[in-house]
């Protein structure tokens, strides 16, 4: 049982380490996602009507989780994201990997991604 967890975490840690550089000057209060125990920043730019996300966190596992979300939702149109039911998050087993506090963090990350999409409809 533990080895399974270890594998999942090792994967998230790897994802976190490989997430692209995030500029220091974009670690601002308005880009900070509230509701996570560690600090997570989410930024984006628009390219051809699609949203390209970038993110960072001071905790590596959290960074892995936001990296996974970005992999799924970056490069999509705002309406695609807004209409998504985010069931993919359940399917890849992310939610059950997280204690309630952490799940709150995940919920906050998803809420922030949706908020960005809604603002750019």
């Amino acid at each position: 049982m533990f080895d399974e967890w270890l594998d999942k975490y090792e994967y998230l840690i790897e994802l976190g380490k490989n997430l692209g550089d995030y500029p220091e000057d974009r670690k601002t209060e308005d880009r900070l996602i509230k509701g996570c125990q560690s600090r997570v920043w989410l930024d984006y730019r628009m390219e051809d009507g699609k949203i390209v996300f970038s993110a960072d966190s001071d905790a590596i596992i959290t960074k892995g989780i936001i990296s996974l979300l970005i992999k799924i939702y970056s490069g999509r149109r705002p309406d695609e994201i807004v209409s998504s039911d985010f069931s993919v998050v359940d399917r890849i087993g992310l939610k059950e990997n997280l204690s309630p506090t952490r799940a709150n963090g995940l919920v906050s990350m998803i809420a922030k991604i949706k908020e960005v999409a809604a603002e750019n409809l």
Binding site: F2, Q37, S38, D58, I61
Partner: protein
Amino acid sequence: MDAEEIRRNFPALGRQVYGRQLVYFDNAATAQRPRSVIDEWTRITEQCNANIHRAVHLMSEEATAAYEAAREAVRKFINAGSREEIVFTSGTTASINLVAFSFGEAFVSEGDEVIVTECEHHSDIVPWQMMCQRKGAVLKVLKVDDSGHLMINSLDGLITDRTKIMAVTHISNVLGLVNPVKEIVKKCHGKGVPVLVDGAQGIVHLKVDVQELDCDFYAFSGHKIYAAPGTGVLYGKKEWLDRMPPYMGGGEMVGTVRFSGTTYAPLPLKFEAGTQNFAGAATLKPALEFAASIMDDAEIVRSFDAVRDYLLDTLLADSRIRLYGVPENAGEKIPLFSFSMDGVHHEDLALILDKMGIAVRSGQMCAEPLMDRFGVTGMLRVSLAPYNTMQESEYFVKCLDKAAGMLS
């Protein structure tokens, strides 16, 4: 007795998490409950569930007897002068809020001053801030040095003729160092300033004698010392409690009630408005009896000290680790260790340790000013109780090393 014998009294310690034997190292947040506490709660609930202090029927008398027996157990445990000085609350936070409000109403005016310390948790900061805001008073802070010790020499300079009260924790829930509370009380009393001691952690690890400390108030929670959650105690010297107005009104805290005016019940009921958590409070008796039996057992104390010394030495010797609250001698440190590890986030460590079966705390520990003081966003904390063993500690050290390896 040894730790293994103690453990058999705690059902929760037998459980598994993620297929591994639980190692519970988050005791400063809440302790596990022994069988005697669970049984007392069940007994009250099953056999004498009736409201206390009001009815003449047998069940009510039995419930009242259990509640008042717990008050006597608390009085004895902290060596208070009388039962009138023991007020039941819902916990440390409620106890401090009660004093901040009622003492403030009676004794604090605009321009007065209150002193707290830099190592208080939020429950011993925010109630005082609220009181200062209400009264137009000023909050002053006694700082800690880099090792986590209170800078006691600057206390005299902080006390003025406007200082109305000082609040200090017996042991910080982050630093784990025993503060020189007796000395602080002496200094404050020398200038006519009463002292509230936050005993949330202190009551668990020290033999507290409120008459010897001579503090004016001592606040603690039941759940950290094996009793039911939602229970707590405020010890207050009668001379203060008598002169403070009630915190809340209603229930059995009255003498007579007329629309023209109300008189209040004598101590301690004056401060126990509404239906009390009587089943919970009753568990303080078996909980404190259990705590006393551990504190009085030289063999347990010796082996528990050895566990503390092992963790202290191991963490101090590890160059990757920065320990907050470094004692001058092991005796002033309780088995509570908050630390950071180079290049590794506390939350990541806590998550992986959890999967290894070890419950620890990560984050700000309800003490943001102390996080700012040490320039961190959070820490990792392990806090032990006498049912924790050397074997568990060695396993923790091994797992910490493995988790750090995964993360760096």
